[in-house]
Symmetry: D2
Subunit: 328 residues, 4 copies
Amino acid sequence: MQIGMIGLGRMGANMVRRLLRDGHECVVFDVSQANVEALEQEGAVGATSLEDMVAKLAKPATVWLMLPAAITDQTIEKLSGVMAAGDVLIDGGNSNYQDDIDRAGRLSGIGLDYIDVGTSGGVWGLERGYCLMIGGPDEAVKRLDPIFLSLSPGAGKEAQRTSELGYIHCGPAGSGHFVKMVHNGIEYGMMAAYAEGLNLMKSANIGKVARSADAETSPLANPHYYHYDLDVAEITEVWRHGSVVSSWLLDLLAGSLHNDPTLDAFSGRVSDSGEGRWMMKAGIDTGVPLPVLSSALFQRFSSQGHEQYSNQVLSALRAAFGGHSEKK
Amino acid sequence: MQIGMIGLGRMGANMVRRLLRDGHECVVFDVSQANVEALEQEGAVGATSLEDMVAKLAKPATVWLMLPAAITDQTIEKLSGVMAAGDVLIDGGNSNYQDDIDRAGRLSGIGLDYIDVGTSGGVWGLERGYCLMIGGPDEAVKRLDPIFLSLSPGAGKEAQRTSELGYIHCGPAGSGHFVKMVHNGIEYGMMAAYAEGLNLMKSANIGKVARSADAETSPLANPHYYHYDLDVAEITEVWRHGSVVSSWLLDLLAGSLHNDPTLDAFSGRVSDSGEGRWMMKAGIDTGVPLPVLSSALFQRFSSQGHEQYSNQVLSALRAAFGGHSEKK
Amino acid sequence: MQIGMIGLGRMGANMVRRLLRDGHECVVFDVSQANVEALEQEGAVGATSLEDMVAKLAKPATVWLMLPAAITDQTIEKLSGVMAAGDVLIDGGNSNYQDDIDRAGRLSGIGLDYIDVGTSGGVWGLERGYCLMIGGPDEAVKRLDPIFLSLSPGAGKEAQRTSELGYIHCGPAGSGHFVKMVHNGIEYGMMAAYAEGLNLMKSANIGKVARSADAETSPLANPHYYHYDLDVAEITEVWRHGSVVSSWLLDLLAGSLHNDPTLDAFSGRVSDSGEGRWMMKAGIDTGVPLPVLSSALFQRFSSQGHEQYSNQVLSALRAAFGGHSEKK
Amino acid sequence: MQIGMIGLGRMGANMVRRLLRDGHECVVFDVSQANVEALEQEGAVGATSLEDMVAKLAKPATVWLMLPAAITDQTIEKLSGVMAAGDVLIDGGNSNYQDDIDRAGRLSGIGLDYIDVGTSGGVWGLERGYCLMIGGPDEAVKRLDPIFLSLSPGAGKEAQRTSELGYIHCGPAGSGHFVKMVHNGIEYGMMAAYAEGLNLMKSANIGKVARSADAETSPLANPHYYHYDLDVAEITEVWRHGSVVSSWLLDLLAGSLHNDPTLDAFSGRVSDSGEGRWMMKAGIDTGVPLPVLSSALFQRFSSQGHEQYSNQVLSALRAAFGGHSEKK
């Protein structure tokens, strides 16, 4: 099939490569001319502007956006002036699913079909294929099946259900990004589960360490129970083989720790993207308790330094009622 | 090698089968004579008592216990009167690692080597092999390498590190169960991450449902954002293919949901075994924050009904200051 | 001063009473004619409609709304057609502060001043006075100072700062309800702190109770440490006198428990109003970690039964990997 | 009555002062001779050693220990060799209630009565009186009633129940410290509730601040909703008057913030003493969910720097699957 791709960063460029491999015709555009030329070398058709791209696509045209969330809306706005009724616009980035619902409403008013695709697979997608969570109108989604199949891990395979191939039509507008949002929330929780476990193992030797005996340090009741020097890299490796906690994240983690068990290259400041936050809000709206996933999110906020004033308030109170003077 | 196995429940019996397959000689004992006879049919040597088992084992003898935690200590007590210096006693059950440390100290006084083995793999271990986390003295652990290899997923394979085969010597007494404890804590966190995510997806249609408008029901701000009927079974399936959250637990979950997406067979009461509790205490002792894993544990406590009085206190307070009368 | 009050429920009616006591002239309206007549008996001027109320107020008119959140916006819409430039509209209910910001923008366009007042004190406000958190334009807030003073606990007292009298001008539109939102979030956390503590004390005798010894029940390591029959009612009473945790909520709690320590009148289902949810969303927006307050909120969601499917997922997983069959 | 006091730090010395004021005879001992002499000046009888103290007390002797937890056990050991059957030993420090149970068992073997007293009131106890939570044998506790009354806030008052005076006999050995442990856990939760709320208010102006627009910073959806410069000191003051969250802790907090709203004197590192940890373990033992109180405890652990490796693990994973490079 023919498809236009706007946004040739790591994700967009690799998706084009995967589509080209499978024989699709890709018209590509990016604000960076170099990015466009690189993919022209690999068989894509370059476009010099949004208008040029749309002109180069047969009707009905299909355009896939793979852009930072911050500029997706303005690009859709421009495209909606260039594209024609019957065309399809796909947002494969990390949009808030509520924006999808709003956009789909606006675009359907001018005859454009809007599809949202949540994409998982990260930098490994080119090789492994992308897990795709798709929202949008039935007919348009069905028509693009060859594109989704080529991007998915199941490319070249057969199955009764597309879910077994790695892509799925979740429902109407926004449902793809809703499911992706939940996916990322789960990811936060899983990552935190491993992180806390490894942190505890790293502290398993704390009984060997001399401990201050002042009133501001809680005593360690039985130090001889904490005399282990555990090799966390080796332990993550062993868990990959036959344990209940084996996962793809664990595979990656074992690799990272094999390279450097100290993880000293990392400062301890952990970013969060929007999905974790949106999921939490959806839990709040629907009244669904998310204690584990919210803990994972808040832990990241803390790592970013945002618990500082809260802690100062605690110390101020401890000083006020107990005369406690914190250790520095 | 020759080994004695005490405790022929699901785990113990399957381990014997895996050892027999690999050519080891197994002397087996269980309080149920039927369990002993079943394995005799499959090639094991039955024993009629602890004494009989030890008598049937060449010196130095190796005995593996696969017993409920509640009777492990008394069995070790009895065995310590029958076994001789140089023999090895292995606890493959779910003991608290602190008990291991205490036991190892006691048993070394009479010349017995004590090894603790944390075992993961559940009911799938017979087929897939067991992931083994081993604690104990170097020499004894090294001597039993053929046993560990046969039980592990790596049986028949080769690798430079045993971790790649699915077993590992973690350190001195208790370290095997310590690592297994952490493993189970991580398992709690991962399970809860999936559970919360699926719960949210199941509520994604809440905007379609009529909602009471009384003062005790928080209004849903934008119901049209919650109109999705998501197929959670299909979504767990698709995530297995190329997504960041793929894991063995997800494989199992997709299978369970494929069989019955309603999960109506389950009451919602979730048990917890000891490991999650012990891990939390280890976090408390060492000062390592475990917000995600503790949330997962407490969620289970709540599912068991233990938050009832706490909630009644909240309602009593709401009635007292605001005249609120809770809905039933 | 003269003021109009719309909404004569428990809160609105008591505020009118407190204003009348202090010599203010109150024009009152409610959808229930009975509510209007009751206050006419006590000295208020009744109105038969919004229009009638506004007609009865001298210019510039001040109207205070004390309505359920669900009908506040439509009432403001109607009033904005009746009131004139220079008039002041006050929302004393539980609005989302973001709605205040939106409203203030709309109303300033037609010359109306909008003031939001977060009100704490519950059913005790008539007697104790209401703690008022006020947002809105400086001049209008200043002009209404006599009203705020009469409603506050400091009525009749003097102080250098209004905060010492129990009311405060927090900032521009929405800031009053923002601070009230935070106030309620803190309230959730405090309530949960007491509730969890009392729940633990109630379980302090668990070591006396026979315990099933099956594999699905975690054993109690040292039952003799849990043999206390604590009198939680008496303990909440003693904490009121000289302890660090004394508070007004504790005063109320001690009273409730004195009346009925079992709290059997309460089902265990705990409602949540909007503030806790809005606060959590504000924390998410701003990146401020709220682990304690979110735990308190999610605990309420769970009490409402919304963790059910999550728990079923956990049980399904436990059955799948471990063959565990949950207790009912 | 006559009583011996060992340990004349801030708490012990002030308790002696309060007892002297009420006419009791106090024999005092401390490792610091200066501390002893200071109280001799105020009317106490100094002792030069444990033996000397016991010799100076009429039979049956009562000795109150007010010592750091770390040296309490060894002091009790020594005293048990000096005191005689019928004497009473009181631990008023911060012991783990399980240690009380163990001690009481040992001491009763030699005829000594052991009483544990949880004491709340901090540095304000001299002036306000101490809230006392008492565990131990009925008769001994009853005999010491005049001491408890003098120490309590109710000294000089009358009431039907001692709880109204600020002291209470909770039950057998350890129950006093059990209740104090719960008290402190609640205190952690309340403190965290205030701290999180104030932290959010301090961030209410975040929409005014320029924000990086890179992929590693989550965008702020509606900055105009976060334009408030809130005066947290004034807000804590206003809440003291008529609000639902008023408390003694809030009184102290308002004072601290009045002195310095920036709290810059505090580093953000918050110590924890043993009680929060013990309470969490008691919750784990009994299966009582403590999500709020555990969050409060873990927040302190994090403030002490113990989440560092956990965060590094998260960053390592983000780099591995998504090529994310964290901001420093």
